[in-house]
Amino acid sequence: MPTLPRSRRLRRYAPVAALTSCVLLTTAACGGAADKPAAGTDKLALAVLGAPNSFEVTQLSDGQPAYIWNSVYDTLLYTDNKGQLQPNAAESWGYTDGGRTLTLKLRTGMKFSNGHGVNAAGVKASLDYVRTTPGSQQNSLDAIDAIEAPDDTTVVLKLKHPDASLLPSLSMGAGAIADPETMKDPSAALNPIGSGPYILDKAATVNGSSYLLKKRDDYWNAAAYPFETVEVKVMGDRTAAVNALQDGQLNAGTVESTQVDQVKGAGFDVTVVPATSVGTLVLADRDGSVVKPLSDVRVRQAINMAFDRQKMVSQFLRGVGRPTAQIVNPKSAEYDPALDTAYPFDPAAAKKLLADAGYADGFSVTMPSLYYTKPFEPTIGQALKDIGIEVTWEPVPAQNNSIALTSGKYGMYFTADGLNAVPNDAKKYFSPQGIRNPFHTQNPEISGLLLEASGEQDPAKATDAFKKINTYGTQNAWYAPVFYIGSSWVTKKGITYLGDGSSTLTTIRAFGTAS
């Protein structure tokens, strides 16, 4: 049998070679182990759901983006993992003048990452910039009338009125200090200059996707940050996050309750924080300007009795959460366990309350259908229908979600809010300007309670005052909270999650190294 020339033999197998080359292209990578981040404790590789919009100090958003900016900027105060305010850039502080003057003493020797020193004048400039620029933090500083910097280490905040939410706010975005010489530069949005423990490695950062933070050697509190590098990856898809955890690309992150067993089986530690946010039906139109029945407290109480909260926790949250009828953090001193049973699931009693209020045949209401409320809508709608309230869900485009809730168009709506310090949550729900009070409801009783709580300098008495506000909110059904939503934190060997839900502040100080 004649032998074919080599070139012709090759051509005979050309189609096979083509197929093989394609397979090789997709499997050429299969030659060795993929590179993994160091499994040691020198690096924290964390998955978050949302990226910071901008690092510009007036646009910082609290919540998960804070893991990144909070590592670059120092805040004046710090809320520790037990929920207690601690010194940070300000090593001491105190109120005088009946809560109308707050004096902060800065620690010395702090430097911004560009080498500029941190001083009181700079802090004043930074705070002034935040409070006078429209942005997500402006409201937090709205009680400030003027800021003074009498010397290099003293900052004095003169307030229009006492504001108990100010101190917690100074441990969040509103208290971030930016270098006054660069903070207004357009580059600050993507390349922040802060005095915090880490520097953003711009070369290794893909904005909106992954952020690499490198520890500063000259940071004043380096011991509090055990990780030399922090990598934060934005992963909206939890399955991707779990895959990356199991693959070794990440060593910390949150997972869905349904994924807990899977990661436990893979050798991860799981820390369940039972409450990080609260799912609430905000009964906003308490004066009845859009939904008249809501002006009657019995109607609002009836709505509170329409929900089988325990069942909803089981169905929606699969146990990572708990029923509630109040909006404060269950780890806070203001939390009252008795309030959680104030409204048992009782449709018959709810119908009777509606009848007593003059709505025996029920009524109709339009609620906004938001992209994150869709899973809950059938259950909420059915529960309300069962007591005679017909809900029409009005679709709202995603980009309109925020303004829909603050517009005053909807008398009631369902939302989920991250838990905060109680004074801040009280301001959000009860202050006439609060974003969860879109109809600006006020009355002498709640105004008096707010005034009492804000002006109280004694911590124990202030706690009692906020307890009264919390009780007022539940008893007068300003809202119908349904459940606390928890988080399941997953960490690899060598990393520990230190939070227990007392503080819901998102900072990498919630992570430590296992001894």
Binding site: S54, P134, K233, A240, N243, A244
Partner: protein, 313 residues
């Protein structure tokens, strides 16, 4: 041919203007929301009005659109309202991720489909049945299911490939290949199935035609007939299918990017749309239209080159 290309380019330009104009008109209903989102918690009605003025949203919509267009002509796509990132840089960096995955997927699709389709039509028998079976499997099994299995086996269990993430080609070609392998397989399967069927069918038709018989009687070798003549005639429709696959992959990139945490074009477009980041949405729309139009033009020109009868003079 030149006048044809110029006509097509003119049409593409008109289409681009129309699509971006319609997009802008649709976005104009969200000006209040965008201004409010920029303001965050301080979004009082007065502040929203001031922010709209600051962003130029208080001007007539058409004036705003033509202002945007005049900047685009000068190469300025503006900056993101929320991150201050220049839109052209942001879009091009994300587009490079998506295009690298899609291009590799298309290459795999084309090579595998041509090889399988031609072999099935030419050799028949077992190879044909294997090709048909593979096509059926590609149609029936969701690509993402395959991807999930591959992630489990190749990433989680054996650590051969990364489960998520992307390494730029310029940074490390080896790591780049690893990072795109599973997404490419997931994106390719459906395209391979449809293109293999298409090529197989067309090749069977071509091989039954008179000219093939004529070529055989002239002593031309079968391989030459198959690869030089029949395949060339069958390639036109296959190219059209391939271009449609490209558009489908481009549209479906979002899911792949989310599942594999790739910093790509689809997820960027999605996230920007959720925020109402108007300059970014406009930039994304512009790039997407230009890309789709460009691919269609290239396919038409290739068709003309492959099949002179298809040329438009």
């Amino acid at each position: 041919m030149i006048s044809y290309v110029l006509r097509r380019l003119g049409g593409a330009l008109l289409l681009t203007v129309l699509v971006t104009l319609i997009t802008f008109l649709l976005l104009s209903t969200s000006f209040d929301s965008v201004a409010a989102s920029r303001l965050g918690n301080s979004a009082t009605p007065e502040a929203v009005t001031a922010m709209k003025e600051q962003l130029g949203f208080d001007r007539p919509v058409l004036v705003q659109y033509f202002d945007w267009l005049s900047h685009v002509v000068r190469g300025d796509l503006g900056v993101s309202l929320f991150t201050s990132e220049p839109v052209d840089q942001a879009v091009s960096s994300r587009l490079s991720v998506t295009l690298s995955v899609i291009t590799a997927a298309l290459l795999c699709t084309a090579v595998a489909s041509v090889a399988l389709g031609v072999l099935a039509a030419w050799r028949g028998g077992v190879i044909d049945r294997v090709a048909q079976g593979a096509s059926l499997v590609g149609f029936l099994i969701p690509s993402l299911l395959i991807a999930i299995v591959l992630v489990y086996v190749l990433a989680i269990k054996t650590s051969i490939l990364p489960a998520t993430g992307y390494t730029p080609l310029a940074d490390d070609p080896g790591q780049w290949l690893k990072s795109i392998t599973i997404p490419v397989i997931a994106l390719s399967l459906h395209g391979m199935a449809s293109l293999t069927s298409q090529i197989r069918g067309r090749m069977i038709d071509e091989l039954r035609k008179d000219y093939v018989r004529t070529l055989r009687t002239r002593g031309i070798r079968t391989r030459s007939i198959v690869l030089r003549h029949a395949l060339r005639n069958a390639a036109g429709p296959a190219l059209t299918v391939l271009s449609m696959e490209f558009i489908a992959m481009f549209g479906g990139a979002l899911i792949i990017e989310k599942v594999f945490a790739l910093p790509g074009f689809g997820s960027y477009a999605f996230d920007s749309s959720l925020q109402g980041d108007i300059p970014v949405i406009m930039g994304v729309t512009l790039f997407a239209v230009l890309l789709v139009v460009g691919v269609n033009l290239i396919v038409d020109l290739l068709n003309g080159w492959l099949n002179p009868k298809a040329r438009i003079h």
